[in-house]
Symmetry: C2
Subunit: 396 residues, 2 copies
């Protein structure tokens, strides 16, 4: 039996209390027996549950590889083809780069990650195998879920479907998809294939949908139809879903209601440069919302650091959240929202749950989001994995 | 004669060189005599000119006052009246709070600030006098320009005009204004009064314009008309100018062309939650663009830290800048763009200019913006004012 007593912490910024952890789980929040194990004094820090990175691309960052000068063209296709070429030219090794990102995420308080991983006929399963190796290597430090993701298209690159099938047979957790109109130009073909894989392997679905306005609405309705027809309620996530930011709010509302009916979740990065799903509107309709960093410092663009407190700030800024209760909700999206989508068992800052806990020196949750202080301590199932903004495990 | 040699630095991320500073000015960029004074080894850091905060509210932050729980209503008027009430209730002392902000700005590499300062019939000149005292106190550490700003309205609060006149006679540098339709409901009255003050005191104008779409376009045209009629070309700034983000791009373009003709500058915060002027469009048309943090952690909202490198990132994110040359332009907006609007003399990283210099450990300007590392060293006219992210002067 191992014990750890977190003394002098404030769950969600509330009153000071203690958290007793035993064998990786929270056994008591409140005063009482001090336990027989180690003690950490939180010094009055806020305690929140581990942050959840619900939309990452662990296979594709250039983190730690020196600065890459960005010159790729403006279209989605430019970035996809540039990346496919540079992966080998620059040796963006998926095992190494995903390990670096796990350490980076942990340093910022993230304890669970859903990562899309590219599968295409050039890379084949290289990216999947690299991220799978990282998942195994850090199985005690990070929950990692792998989405088999046809980044370069599914219908337009024959052979991709078979590779996805193989990945799903070998440990990929979720079936991915991508712009069935915009990339594959065959929405029926792609979506039938994606949902067929999901049915065959008994796995959930997470589809990138960048298509804007009425085109995205069209694809979204096709996703909703299949979710309903196949009884996959609660098992489907749509990432980005920019179409929900369309200016026709009545049309968007009708889509939101259908999403709620099929319990389809939305994953957002809260980008500043595009119309996006409105967090408050989704909340009112009962649509689950989670958030992620997307690719960071990769061949697509220079930004990002996997800090999900910063992401909560971006959600706040994008949605014009100014009141403290709105920022509490932004944190909810970056914690419980992601945990729900990943179906994490026994998640949360409560007795009985796994002790995935982050300590932050701030007065309130809103201040933590606005100021994003260095994370004081990060626990994964009761084990310290980062302290004072630095991961406690090393990667090459 | 005082000398400082900055060794081993890379101007804008270029090749390693030295910068020799004498009596507060850059006398040489390049190898040569080492000088007889102090030496700082930059360790290969990037050197950029001092960041310019071109739209701040130094009188109104709660920085260092403990967390304020935000509950103000959603309308602009709610925030204005909440603030007017809380200033005295919470004792948001303008002298103390502006001093704190000067130290905060310096810690992030800012060496010049244009601050709007509230003038109304409740506060009278309290805010102006407080920020004026701070300006005098830190005259060797920070260039501060004060805009006499009728935050609570000019026409709807009789007596405000006389107070602004008094502030301008006593050292305010710029005549401010605010939503002549939305707040004052008398666009002709307010704008005539503002431009009359500008003519009387021989000072430039900087008007907050939040009004969206065609309403903002209407007010903007009235501003353009007066600029032209009074021969104030190059002396007028419009802050925010959300109307330029209107969906009718042809209409917006016609406004942009008129702005270029009268050399009216735009100040932006690059907010994520509203349509905004497009940086690339303004650049192509030759309209000067500068940037600012706006109010930080005040009764209006919880965000902000006066970090103009972070602001450059927000500009990049808002404008979907992904290529390195686009991020170079974002830095230009946050340096030279602000210097132009403030008419700073002898500004820039060049021989003969004042030695306002920031050293940053990064490989390129784009990396500096994406990663926002702690500022290694900040010089104001050759004097260190911040090191390793901390101001070298103290405030209470």
């Amino acid at each position: 039996m191992t014990e750890l007593l977190l003394k002098n912490v404030r769950p969600f910024g509330g009153p000071v209390t203690d958290i007793l952890i035993r064998d990786g789980r929270i056994v008591r929040i409140g005063a009482g027996e001090t336990g027989s194990g180690a003690v950490e004094d939180g010094g009055g820090a806020i305690a929140i549950p581990g942050l959840v990175e619900a939309h990452a691309h662990l296979d594709k960052s250039l983190w730690g590889m020196g600065w890459h000068v960005h010159q790729a063209g403006p279209r989605l296709e430019d970035k996809i083809s540039t990346e496919r070429r540079l992966r080998r030219e620059l040796n963006i090794d998926p095992a190494r780069q995903s390990a670096r990102q796990v350490a980076l995420a942990a340093s910022h308080g993230t304890t669970a990650i859903r990562s899309h991983v590219d599968i295409d006929t050039d890379q084949k399963l290289w990216c999947f195998e690299g991220v799978s190796a990282t998942r195994e290597r850090f199985r005690n430090e990070m929950d990692i879920e792998i989405v088999a993701f046809p980044q370069s298209g599914l219908m337009i690159r024959p052979g991709t479907l078979e590779l996805m099938d193989e990945a799903l047979a070998n440990g990929a957790d979720v079936v991915g998809g991508l712009d069935p109109c915009g990339i594959d130009r065959d929405p029926k073909g792609q979506l039938d294939a994606v949902f067929h894989l999901a049915q065959k392997h008994g796995k959930p679905v997470d589809i990138h949908l960048h298509e804007p306005d009425e085109l995205g609405a069209f694809s979204l309705e096709m996703i909703i139809d299949r979710t309903q027809a196949l009884g996959m309620r609660g098992k489907v996530t749509v990432s980005h879903a920019f179409c929900l930011g369309m200016s026709d709010r009545a049309r968007a509302q009708s889509l939101v209601e259908k999403l709620a009916r099929e319990d389809i979740a939305i994953a957002t990065t809260a980008p500043a440069s595009r119309p996006v799903p409105a967090a408050a509107e989704l909340r009112r309709a009962g649509v689950r919302l989670c958030a992620g960093s997307d690719g960071i410092r990769d061949t697509w663009g220079p930004y990002g650091n996997l800090d999900m407190l910063e992401r909560a700030m971006f959600i706040g800024l994008r949605n014009n959240f100014r009141c403290d209760d709105e920022l509490d909700h932004a944190l909810h999206i970056c914690t419980q929202g992601g945990a729900d989508v990943m179906e994490l068992k026994d998640y949360g800052l409560r007795e009985g749950a796994f002790a995935d806990i982050v300590l932050i020196d701030a007065e309130t949750v809103a201040e933590a989001i606005a100021a994003r202080p260095v994370r004081k301590l990060v626990l994964k199932r009761g084990k310290p994995i980062a302290r004072d903004g630095k991961a406690l495990f090393t990667v090459e």
